[in-house]
């Protein structure tokens, strides 16, 4: 049972405060703020306590959304709830930041009143909530339809997203009730996160993909959408792979609004999406990727003990198809402690490399990397007191990148049909991206 719920800004301003059970005082907000500002680095911040009062919070950009309780609640429940609250506020107000909260506090309180009663979670479904909400949202800026043509991924705010969220992300879903003639649209994103470990001998030790299909929908509710996946899509480790480049995932879960009647036979998902954002399905596969890994690294290390110099020659090959490319590639190479300087030779001028003495590593950045091409870098490191064991400290190499328009699982959306009876047909957008989660190559 949640006792209080509040939102504070990173500067400590109280934006929303709701006491649900009349047990606590408002001072708690400042106690929380002081606590969170004085956190040591490695403390898991998801739960904190102060004199028997438990704080559970999530951070959303510059805002802290916090729930307090004195019971032995489930932190999962509370965190999930806070995450839903964020997306509901976004659905209603377009974005979530200090300004929208100040403009729409009455709406947020109204939402909270319906979502929580006496600290019991009632509902987080936008379809149910919209029956109760009276307040009309106020947006700070009229959004420009023209900007919609310039689309980024609305859902790509994963850990390291460099993709600027488009205006689609900051558009309220329910605001158009009064505005007529606005475009009906639907966005589908297929987002995958790739985890790879390649052993020192070049063998693949681990490869996992965590994927999700997300949808943001600007359609009248109770519109059915039929989404066709690859016909060869199969679930489960036991299935024998077919001849074609089948798409196989180990596990898969679907949102409760997904109807799977046509899934077994035709790999069609029937979704009646609530307005706003939802994760249609989540899936994962491991070990057995249908495509080759995006990057291969061929390292050579020379040690010159006399001059205390370490020469690291990295040859990096991008094995994507020539039509594709990788963006914002970063290669981190941990180097022995005491490394004093770095000199480098890189194969093209847009690349950069620098030695970061805090993390004791070399960062090599490549803004754009075309499929089928190969880049190389030579790093000369001055390491006073170089010894045989210094080599142990070299590596492993970690890479970060994003691969637009490609998925490692091979999952594709074949079609997206909207059973809308009223023309015009809504615009439909389907986008793909793969992010590196943890891509590690051992030396």
């Amino acid at each position: 049972m949640i006792s209080q719920l509040f939102i504070v800004s990173a500067r400590g301003d109280h934006l929303i405060y709701k006491d649900l059970r009349g047990e606590e005082s408002k001072d708690v907000v400042d106690i929380f703020y002081q606590k969170v500002r004085s956190l040591p680095r490695d403390q898991a911040p998801v739960v904190m306590h102060h004199q028997g009062l438990q704080f559970i919070h999530i951070r959303q950009d510059t805002l802290y959304l916090v729930a307090t309780t004195r019971c032995n609640v489930s932190p999962f429940t509370v965190v999930q709830f806070l995450v839903r609250l964020v997306s509901l506020i976004k659905d209603h107000c377009g974005t979530l930041n200090e300004k929208t909260l100040q403009l729409n506090f009455a709406l947020v309180y109204e939402l909270l009143d319906e979502m929580l009663d006496y600290g019991y979670i009632q509902t987080t479904s936008s379809d149910i909530l919209k029956n109760f909400i009276q307040t009309v949202p106020e947006t700070s800026k009229q959004f420009n339809l023209f900007e919609l043509s310039n689309i980024g991924l609305f859902g790509a705010d994963t850990q390291q997203s460099k993709v600027a969220p488009s205006i689609a992300a900051s558009r309220p879903v329910f605001a158009m009730r009064t505005e007529e003639g606005l475009k009906t649209e639907i966005f589908v994103d297929v987002i995958e996160r790739l985890t790879v470990v390649i052993g020192a001998n070049g063998s693949l030790m681990r490869a996992d993909v965590q994927g999700e299909v997300r949808m943001k929908c600007f359609l009248p509710s109770s519109t059915e959408i039929r989404m066709g996946l690859n016909e060869e899509f199969s679930i489960g480790k036991a299935d024998i792979r077919g001849y074609a480049a089948a798409v196989k995932v180990d596990e898969c879960s679907f949102h409760q609004s997904v109807n799977l009647d046509e899934f077994e036979s035709d790999r069609i998902l029937r979704v009646v999406p609530p307005q706003g954002e939802l994760t249609v399905m989540q899936y994962s596969l491991s070990d057995d990727l249908p495509v080759s890994l995006p990057f291969r690294l061929f390292p050579t290390v020379d040690k010159d003990t006399d001059s205390n110099r370490l020469m690291v020659y990295l040859k990096l090959r991008c094995d994507l198809s020539p039509k594709s490319q990788a963006l914002n590639v970063t290669v981190h190479l941990p180097v022995p402690k005491g490394t004093t300087s770095l000199s480098q030779e890189l194969s093209s001028p847009d690349q950069r490399a620098e030695l970061d003495s805090v993390t004791r590593s070399v960062h090599w950045t490549i803004p754009r990397f075309h499929g089928g091409s190969q880049l190389s870098a030579l790093f000369k490191l001055e390491v006073p007191g170089l010894s045989a064991s210094s080599l142990l400290e070299l590596g492993p190499v970690c890479m970060q990148f994003e691969l637009p328009m490609s998925t490692c699982s091979g999952l594709q959306v074949r079609f997206l049909r909207v059973s809308s009876t009223h023309p015009p047909l809504p615009h439909r957008w389907v986008r793909y991206v793969t992010h590196s989660d943890s891509y590690v190559i051992r030396l």
Binding site: R11, D13, L15, D113
Partner: protein, 962 residues
């Protein structure tokens, strides 16, 4: 203090306070225009949010309440909820509108009214709310019913009696069978919460029929409702394994839910009910397989949720390792995991390590050991050592990995490696000693006590194989007094070992260390150990050799395991905060909520009954009042939570001065002599001629048995003294009972009782050492308790407690400590620390300990007070089977500070009017009626704080019957 910061903003509602702002708002609120009114209320609420006091506008806002505009109404209600409590008189103004709104044709307004009513926590108006609430509970619209269900819980919190009297609880129970799943879910949630404050009320009467209803609702309600229902199911005890299985079958589909909170609640139900299934059952295997994928999926969440998931998985892996035994890979660390996730993963990796996957694990650990983060690297190095100890086949590879790491010369890596290699030597003696030379090369770089101590241990243990062992150890001696205790003790032992192995070359060294330890040190542990060695060496070197160089017991394979009973309790709390802290909820939840201990159901299979305590479900639900409750020890967090500060042993009293004054440098001769002479008269003479160490060696001196513990003897006098205070002073003292059984406290058994002597309260303790090792460094601390009871002095245990030895200690108490109401009232939670660990237990003190000596009330005052205390505070008890006359009763009670103020004889009955006062100034007045020939007395107690009456009655019974 809440100090609202007002931000610069362009929002029209958030402007800084201006003079007359309230006045302006007042005018706007009373405007005729609806829009203007609404805007004004919004401004008021904006001010409220940032912490401004706008309570002065209460009447004006309430005036806006009667409106058809739902949006405005909602805003007004929002304001009401916030300020009604501070304006109880004005809140009554709102009642009529509430009552009216509860009859509104629009269900949204009915629900809004009933929801807001419950949030107005003003006692005065609750009774007006009963009728509207009753109607809403039976409303035709489910939205109104589900809101009304929650309102019952709200009202119960304000006035529990009212809710019971009005029969709302029964209505709530009926709602469990409601056709709408959301109503069911809220009814379950409300009942669960109410039931927690009445542990034995049987409010949530779970039987196969209700369970069936809940399982049906489970499939239909929202994800949040599913969580309420699953959590409620987890409290049910199926009658047999069949029922358990059928519930499991119906819960399993929840495992694939997208909401991880639903998944975890389902896992909790399954883990609990699995306990009842036989492992031979096919279904048991199926269930195991089904549990793995959802747990793995949890690890793809955000890092914070991953951490929570990992803490839960850590419990599940300890309880049922088979679930995740094939999933080792998912626990491999990703380079971008936050450190807290990495450390938790490492822990799980070790728990899952087995012969089958050890090669893979080791390869990973080796990689981790060269990472940048110091904490993580340390733990990885330690993990390699734990692998070696756990999986024998891997030991060799682990040792060579550790040696590689030592070659890096990274200071903290080397130190961790040496600490774990010591353990590997312990586990596999005479196998890897070839690496000692490499270890010795790194002696100089060790600056952490644990690593130094480990290295010294290794040198001492293998002194015969290390040519320059004496030089190595001598090098540590120079800074002996700057070393930590751990290192000092280890150095003392190592040098004694060395001496026993190479006596000829090391006499001087051993003399030196014994002198440092016994003469120059203030640390009693060190001195004691020094004396023991000293005496051993001087009296019976052969015995010394047997003792010091004895074969060591094997070390255990698993470390850091959670104690089984705690683990079982935590399994019942999967997915909750308890599972994140790895503490029972009672450790961090104040008050009654959630303090009930949950247990796993007894396993149905016969041969596995040892796995969980043999408790029937009904007994499990009883609060453990009779049994002393052992609070399982789990590290420091619990200590933190209980606000305990168990620092180093407090105030070690000086050893009786006679033993300290040993000026003689001839340690083993004269020094010992004087020691013996002082401590045990008449026997010292035998030893006076004791030659100095080298010579003494050849002639095995026979030690008189009575001399074996001279120090102990001296101290036991002290304890006799303490024991002697336990003389019968008239006040009744209960016999000692076992508070902390040895099995729960690593061999320390504590029994005790309370006594009151000469106006002081004492806790009389017997500490018994049932372990194989000596116990030292005792300290004690109390948690906050109802009467502020706290130790008035440190726990004085002046000598180490040898195995099988018992010490009686009397701990003086006072009542000026911090106060917190406990349940039961006389519950006392105690933490005892010794050199091994910190242990927690709780006990009940008889309330008569708190009866003070000046508790006799003046007659007149007695009469006035008796009348003044309201009659509902009077409680009547029967004291049965008592065969004393009035005078004997008076005397007996008087010696326990219950004073007879007056005595009357009415129609042959003796009426005794008595008074007593508790340490915190609470008076209790009593009337005791004794009829000649009737062994049953009637006792009427009157006290302003009626909760104590029950305890006072118990005190009467105990005193009169003993």
């Amino acid at each position: 203090e809440a100090c609202p910061r007002i931000t610069m903003t362009d929002s029209k509602y958030f402007t800084t306070t201006k003079k007359g702002e309230i006045f302006e708002l007042k005018a706007e609120l009373n405007s005729d225009k609806k829009e203007k009114k609404k805007e004004a209320v919004k401004k008021v609420i904006a001010s409220m949010t940032v912490g401004k006091d706008v309570s002065a506008l209460f009447p004006d806002v309430v005036n806006c309440m009667q409106t058809d505009n739902l949006e405005l109404k909602k805003l007004v209600y929002l304001y009401l909820m916030n300020y009604a409590k501070s304006q109880p008189d004005m809140a009554i103004m709102a009642v009529n509108t509430f009552v009216k709104d509860c009859e509104d044709p629009n269900p949204l307004i009915r629900a809004l009214a009933v929801r807001t009513m419950g949030c107005i926590r003003v006692d005065k108006i609750t009774e007006y709310l009963c009728e509207p609430l009753r109607k809403c509970l039976k409303d035709e619209d489910p939205y109104v019913r589900k809101t009304a269900a929650v309102c019952v819980a709200k009202l119960h919190d304000i006035n529990a009696q009212l809710v019971e009297d009005q029969g709302f609880l029964d209505t709530l129970k009926d709602l469990i069978s409601d056709s709408n799943p959301m109503v069911v879910a809220n009814a379950v949630a409300a009942l669960s919460e109410i039931a927690e404050s009445h542990p034995n009320s049987n409010l949530l009467d779970l039987n196969p029929q209700t369970i069936n209803k809940l399982l049906t609702a489970l499939n239909e309600c929202t994800e949040w409702g599913q969580i309420f229902i699953l959590d409620c199911l987890a409290n049910y005890s199926p009658k047999d394994d069949r029922e358990a299985q059928s519930i499991c079958e119906r819960v399993t589909p929840r495992l694939s839910h997208a909401n991880s909170a639903v998944v975890l609640s389902a896992v909790k139900v399954l883990m609990k009910f699995m306990e009842m299934l036989s492992k031979d059952l096919d279904y048991y295997g199926t269930l195991l397989k089904k549990l793995a994928p959802p747990l793995v999926t949890l690890l793809s969440a955000e890092p914070e949720l991953q951490y929570v998931a990992l803490r839960n998985i850590n419990l599940i892996v300890q309880k049922r390792p088979e679930i995740l035994k094939h999933e080792m890979k998912v626990f491999f660390v990703k380079y971008n995991d936050p450190i807290y996730v990495k450390l938790e993963k490492l822990d799980i990796m070790i728990r899952l390590a087995s012969q089958a996957n050890i090669a893979q694990v080791l390869a990973e650990l080796k990689e981790y050991a060269t990472e940048v983060d110091v904490d993580f690297v340390r733990k990885a190095v330690r993990a390699i050592g734990r692998c070696a100890i756990k999986v024998e086949q891997s030991a060799e590879r682990c040792v060579s990995t550790l040696l590689d790491l030592i070659q890096t010369k990274v200071n903290y890596v080397v130190q961790e490696a040496i600490v774990v290699i010591k353990d590997i030597f312990r586990k596999y003696p005479n196998k890897y000693e070839s690496v000692i030379a490499t270890l010795c090369e790194n002696l100089d770089s060790l600056d952490e006590p644990e690593a130094r101590a480990a290295m010294i241990w290794i040198v001492g243990e293998y002194a015969e194989r290390i040519d320059n062992a004496d030089e190595l150890l001598e090098s540590f001696l120079e800074g002996f007094h700057d070393e930590s205790t751990q290192v000092q003790l280890q150095l003392l032992t190592a040098i004694v070992k060395l001496f026993l192995k190479k006596p000829t070359e090391t006499q001087e060294l051993v003399q030196q260390v014994l002198s440092l330890a016994t003469q120059d040190s203030d640390n009693p542990d060190l001195r004691d150990r020094g004396y023991i060695y000293w005496r051993l060496l001087s009296t019976d070197p052969v015995a010394a050799k047997e003792v010091v160089l004895a074969e060591k017991p094997l070390i255990s394979e698993e470390t850091d395991l959670i104690e089984p009973t705690l683990l079982d309790e935590l399994i019942c709390h999967i997915g909750t905060l308890a599972s994140v802290y790895h503490k029972p909820p009672s450790a961090f939840v104040e008050g009654s909520r959630g303090v009930q201990h949950k247990r796993l159901p007894p396993r149905s299979g016969s041969n596995e009954s040892t796995e969980s305590p043999d408790v029937t479900p009904s007994a499990a639900a009883q609060p453990t009042e009779q049994q002393p409750a052992v609070i399982p020890s789990q590290g420091d967090l619990l200590g933190d939570l209980l606000n305990l500060d168990l620092g180093p042993p407090v105030n070690v009293p000086p050893i009786p001065s006679s033993t300290v004054q040993m000026g003689a440098m001839d340690l083993l001769g004269g020094g010992l002599d004087s020691l013996m002479g002082d401590e045990t008269e008449g026997l010292g003479g035998d030893l006076s001629g004791s030659p100095a160490i080298g010579a003494g060696y050849g002639t095995p001196a026979v030690m008189p048995t009575s001399l074996t513990a001279p120090l102990g003897g001296g101290l036991s006098d002290l304890f006799d003294l303490a024991g002697g205070m336990n003389m019968p002073s008239g006040s009744y003292v209960e016999p000692k009972t076992v508070w902390l059984p040895a099995a729960k406290a690593k061999g320390l058994e504590i029994s005790g009782t309370f006594s009151r002597r000469m106006g002081h309260i004492y806790m009389d303790l017997s500490l018994m050492n049932k372990a194989m090792q000596v116990m030292t460094d005792f300290a004690i601390q109390f948690n906050r308790n109802s009467f502020g009871m706290a130790p008035a002095a440190p726990l004085q245990v002046n000598a180490p407690l040898a195995p099988n030895q018992t010490i009686e200690v009397s701990l003086p108490l006072n009542t000026v400590g911090p106060v917190m109401k406990m349940d039961p009232l006389t519950n006392l939670q105690v933490a005892v620390k010794n050199n091994i660990d910190v242990f927690y237990f709780s006990c009940l003190y008889p309330i008569n300990m708190l009866f003070v000596e000046d508790g006799k009330m003046d007659r007149q005052i007695f009469l006035a007070t008796w009348k003044d205390i309201p009659n509902e505070n009077e409680v009547q008890f029967q004291i049965k089977d008592c065969h004393l006359n009035a005078d004997a009763v008076t005397n007996k009670l008087q010696s326990n500070n219950i004073f007879t103020v007056a005595k009357r004889n009415v129609e042959g009955q003796d009426m005794l009017y008595q008074s007593l006062k508790l340490t915190n100034g609470i008076w209790v007045l009593a009337e005791l009626r004794i009829q000649p020939g009737n062994p049953n007395y009637t006792l009427s107690l009157k006290c302003r704080v009626s909760e104590v009456s029950q305890h006072v009655f118990q005190a009467y019974e105990v005193i009169l019957k003993n």
